[in-house]
Amino acid sequence: MRQNLSLLKKWRSRTVSSKLFALSYSKGVYLNEDLDDLIICSHCHTLHKKIVLPHKKIAKCSACGHKLYSNVEDTFQKAVAFSITAFILFIVANLFPIIKVYITGTENDLTIPAMIITLFNEGFYVVGTIVLVVIVVAPLIVLSSYLMLGLLTYFKIFKGFSKYLISFLVVSKNWAMVDIFFVSILVALVKLFGYARITFGVSSIALLLFVIIDVAFLKSIKPIELWTYFNRVYDARKR
């Protein structure tokens, strides 16, 4: 059960005489360890103090209700598992036709590679490149970074590289637009509806499942969850 944690207190400097910072300020030296106990809401920039969450609980912002973070270890295991599934689905979605269209006796299949090749053949290089990046390259980068992170954190190797990988993942997540592509397939279907006979191909289901996993899980992971997991894994190695 996802519960809004009322325990999470608002950490505004107006209301709280911040004990954590009182010492650091007076000496003019800031302690980084103290800052790790704080979190700022990505939605409204309100400062909060972190608490340790029980299993399967979500921490939400006290000011706007936006998700702050959830129980970490569980999230990361799921992310790796889901990205393996999504990876297989994505390959299927790319290989087989999404829809088949019959107009005046001729059959045309819609596959993602065919779409990009058509754009390039017609001379629309800019459109073709951006479509390629947005619906093939960016999702692949997101998925493979999750898989790589899973491997690297399992063996606890290459700390610097996995650090770089997480920041890269956070940025490339904004450019993956498979969900929007799926909606536009539906729009195109309506446009074709009167003129052509349409059947759904194998990969329409694969694409639908991919979009569901992508939207419901992979895109909703907060960077803080990855970083907390990362720090815990690599700090454990030191001891």
């Binding site: 505004r12 400097s13 107006r14 911040s18 800031y30 980084n32 800052l35 790790d36 704080l38 979190i39 700022i40 990505s42 939605h43 409204c44 920039h45 400062l47 706007c64 829809i99 269209v101 107009i103 005046t104 001729t106 045309n108 819609l110 065919a114 779409m115 058509t118 754009l119 017609e122 629309f124 800019v126 459109v127 951006i130 479509v131 947005v134 619906i135 650090k163 997480i166 920041s167 956070v170 940025v171 904004n174 637009m177 929007i180 592509f181 909606v183 536009s184 397939i185 729009v187 195109a188 309506v190 446009k191 074709l192 052509a196 907060k222 960077p223 803080i224 990855l226 970083w227 720090n231």
Partner: protein, 201 residues
């Protein structure tokens, strides 16, 4: 009171809390750059926004879809396509196309303009605004204007015969570039600009 709150800044890459004490600030956790020089960031955001606006005008003037039916070519602009769908009677799709490709980019321009212009106002301390929320809205709605380009690409792939042929038009290129530059403009807005907007009452 508000000063203390504005001393902390959120790293957009790892969400760790940093102390905002330098102009060019690197995250203490992930070593990525949180915030560069203020004026430079503003200029980049403005430049991207103006480029996007120019492409928006071009995308609306030139055809996005070229249909050749038995030797007769007809060219559809974005608004023309939406109107044609409306006249055919598929109102919801027409509305989706209209909202996604005409209204959303305009809304995004207005929001970014608002953030960029009101930043200077709040520095003078005249008005309180909630720019972080506006920015969040632009981030969410931004990519959805790609719908029209995808639809054109799908139609161009699927309808490809000797009797009927659909190809993309110049408008499609301009439209893609418009979306690209608006996203870059939104990304290059300094996180600090919004924070200062919040505390400027």
């Amino acid at each position: 009171m508000q000063e203390k709150d504005s001393k902390y800044i959120r790293c957009p890459y790892c969400e760790s809390v940093n102390i905002d004490d330098k102009e060019v600030l690197y995250c203490r956790n992930c070593k990525n750059r949180i915030s560069g020089k203020k004026e430079l960031n503003l200029h980049i955001a403005w430049a991207m926004l103006i480029t996007a606006m120019i492409f928006y005008v071009i995308a609306n003037i030139y055809p996005i879809l070229v249909i050749s039916k038995l030797g007769v070519t007809s060219q559809n602009t974005i608004i023309g396509g939406a109107i044609a769908l409306w006249e055919e009677g598929s109102y919801p799709i027409s509305l989706i196309i209209f909202i996604a490709s005409v209204f959303v980019p305009l809304l995004k321009f207005v929001l970014i303009l608002y953030i960029l212009t009101n930043y200077k106002k709040t520095q003078k301390g005249s008005k309180k605004i909630d720019q972080a929320k506006l920015y969040h809205i632009t981030e969410i709605i931004g990519p959805w204007s790609m719908i029209d380009v995808f639809v054109v690409a799908i139609l161009a792939t699927v309808v490809h015969m000797t009797s009927v042929n659909i190809t993309a038009g110049i408008g499609a290129t301009a439209f893609v570039l418009m979306v690209f530059f608006t996203m870059l403009s939104a990304m290059s807005i300094d996180i600090r600009l919004m924070k200062e907007g919040n505390n400027g009452d």
